[in-house]
C-alpha cells in the first residue's frame, strides 16, 4: 500500500475518525512530522554571481574599470643589461665541485708545456703491492684527469687555440696505461683467488660450505725423532758454543 493511498483513505474517513481508527501498523505512516520547508524560487540566489566571469560588467567602452587592483606600479621597469661585461659577476664557490674539470691554476686551457710535463705511468710491478683501496683511489684520480683532458681538448678545438693536441693525447695515453696496469693487477688477483678456491675444493681440511670456520686443521702427530738418532747427533756435532769453540781449537 503506497503512502498516497493511505492518505486518501485517511481523508475519506475523517468524518468517521472516532468510529474507525486506523490500524496500529499504519501509525508511523500517518504521523506527520513538520517537513523542512524549502523555498522554491525561480530567481537566482544572491550568494553567487551569475557566472564565474570576473570581468563581467567591465567595459572599455563605458569606462568601467577593473574591479580588482592590478599588479602595476608606477616605478619604471629595470632595463636589461645586454653587455655581459657590465653585468655583476656571479660569486663562484671556491670549493665548487666543477673545478675538478680544470687544471690546478683554474684556467680555461693548460699550455702545451704544462701539459707535457708529466711522468711515466704506474707499472704493474709497482701496483702489485698496493691494496684495493689504493688501486681504487688511483683509478678515480685517473678518471678525473681524463675528464679534465677531454674538457680542455674540446675547449682548445672550439677556440682554435693552436697546438696542444699531441701533448694532451700523450698525457691521456699515460693515464690510460696506468688504468690498464690497475686492471692487470686486479685480474691477476682474481685468478689467484680463483685458483685458491679451486684448490680449497679438493683440500680435505677446508670446508667452503661451513657456516663458521672454513679452515679446520686435523690433529696430526708430530714427527718425534727417535732417541737413538738424537743421541747420535749429540755425539757428532757440538751443540753449545763452548763445545764449538773447543772443536775449533782442535782443528786449529
Amino acid at each position: 500500500m503506497s503512502i498516497s493511498s493511505v492518505g486518501r483513505w485517511a481523508r475519506s474517513s475523517r468524518s468517521s475518525y472516532i468510529l474507525e481508527t486506523p490500524p496500529t501498523f499504519l501509525v508511523p505512516s500517518l504521523w506527520k512530522s513538520a517537513p523542512a520547508a524549502r523555498n522554491f524560487s525561480t530567481s537566482p540566489s544572491r550568494s553567487l554571481p551569475r557566472d564565474y566571469n570576473r570581468n563581467r560588467g567591465v567595459s572599455a567602452i563605458r569606462g568601467t574599470g577593473p574591479r580588482q587592483p592590478l599588479s602595476v606600479s608606477k616605478e619604471p621597469l629595470p632595463e636589461p643589461v645586454l653587455d655581459s661585461k657590465l653585468r655583476s659577476k656571479v660569486q663562484v664557490d671556491e670549493n665548487h665541485g666543477l673545478w675538478g674539470f680544470f687544471n690546478k691554476q683554474r684556467t680555461t686551457l693548460s699550455t702545451p708545456e704544462d701539459e707535457y710535463s708529466h711522468g711515466r705511468s704506474w707499472s704493474v710491478e709497482e701496483l702489485r703491492s698496493k691494496s684495493w683501496e689504493d688501486l681504487h683511489s688511483l683509478w678515480w684520480v685517473c678518471v678525473k684527469e681524463r675528464n679534465r683532458i677531454a674538457t680542455e681538448t674540446f675547449e682548445r678545438n672550439r677556440l682554435k687555440a693552436g697546438y696542444g693536441d699531441f701533448e694532451a693525447s700523450d698525457r691521456d695515453t699515460t693515464v690510460r696505461r696506468t688504468q690498464r696496469a690497475v686492471k692487470h693487477v686486479l685480474t691477476e688477483r682474481w685468478y689467484a683467488w680463483e685458483a685458491a678456491r679451486k684448490l680449497a675444493k679438493t683440500d680435505e681440511e677446508i670446508d667452503l660450505n661451513s657456516p663458521g670456520q672454513i679452515y679446520l686443521p686435523r690433529d696430526f702427530e708430530e714427527d718425534v725423532p727417535e732417541e737413538e738418532e738424537l743421541r747420535d747427533v749429540g755425539s757428532k756435532e757440538p751443540t753449545t758454543t763452548k763445545e764449538r769453540r773447543d772443536a775449533d781449537k782442535v782443528t786449529v
Partner: protein, 194 residues
C-alpha cells in the same frame, strides 16, 4: 657507483643498486655562456642515463644535481670515414651520435675567462700550417683542374698589352756566340778518372 662516498648524510637522493667500481668513460664539461650559471652541460657516453650522471657528479665531484635534461644529437652523414686519405664518394658514413646532458646544480658555477693571448699555443704558426695544408689538399680535389689558376689573370694582362701594342714581343733567347769548351788546360790523368 660505489666509491668513497663523501658524506652520506649530505646525499639528496636514494642510492641506486647498480654498483660501478671502475667507470671507464669521460665526461666533457662544456662552456655554456647562454645558460644560467647554475646549469652545466656535459658530453656524456650514449649509455649514461640521468640517474647515473647525478650519482657520478655527486660522488666523484661533490656536485649536487637538482635536475637533469638530456639530448642526443645525431651527426651529419659524411662521405667515408674520417681520416681516410682519399674519401671514396658515395660510401656514406654517419658518425656516432653525441649525447649531451644539462644538469641543474644547487650552486652556481662560471667558467674562467678565455685566454686573450694564444702565443703559448703558437696560434699563428698553427693557422699558417693549416692554411698551407688546405691549399695542398685542394690539388687532389676532382674539380681542381677546372678551376682557373692564379696565373690566369696575369697571362691575360700580358696578352692584352701585346695586342694593344704597348709592349713589343722580344725573344728571351740571347745569342752568346759559338760554344766554347771550358777547362781545356786541365790535365786528365788515368788515376783521376772515376
Amino acid at each position: 657507483m660505489a666509491t668513497n662516498v663523501p658524506a652520506l648524510a649530505a646525499r639528496h637522493f636514494n642510492l641506486g643498486g647498480k654498483e660501478v667500481y671502475l667507470p671507464n668513460f669521460t665526461l666533457t664539461l662544456l662552456r655554456t655562456p647562454f645558460l644560467p650559471p647554475n646549469y652545466a652541460s656535459f658530453i656524456v657516453p650514449l649509455n649514461l642515463n640521468k640517474l647515473d650522471i647525478r650519482d657520478y657528479l655527486f660522488h666523484a665531484y661533490g656536485v649536487k644535481v637538482v635536475s637533469v635534461r638530456s639530448y642526443v644529437q645525431q651527426q651529419r652523414v659524411r662521405q667515408d670515414k674520417p681520416g681516410s686519405r682519399m674519401p671514396a664518394p658515395r660510401r656514406w658514413y654517419r658518425p656516432r651520435s653525441i649525447k649531451k646532458m644539462t644538469v641543474e646544480m644547487d650552486k652556481p658555477f662560471v667558467w674562467p675567462e678565455e685566454p686573450e693571448d694564444f702565443s703559448s699555443w703558437e696560434k699563428e704558426r698553427y693557422d699558417a700550417a693549416a692554411k698551407s695544408q688546405e691549399k695542398e689538399q685542394e690539388k687532389y680535389r676532382p674539380d681542381y683542374a677546372a678551376k682557373p689558376t692564379a696565373e690566369r689573370k696575369s697571362i691575360a694582362e700580358q696578352a692584352q698589352a701585346l695586342l694593344s701594342g704597348k709592349e713589343q714581343w722580344r725573344p728571351q733567347w740571347v745569342d752568346s756566340g759559338a760554344p766554347v769548351e771550358v777547362e781545356q788546360d786541365l790535365p786528365m790523368s788515368r788515376d783521376s778518372r772515376p
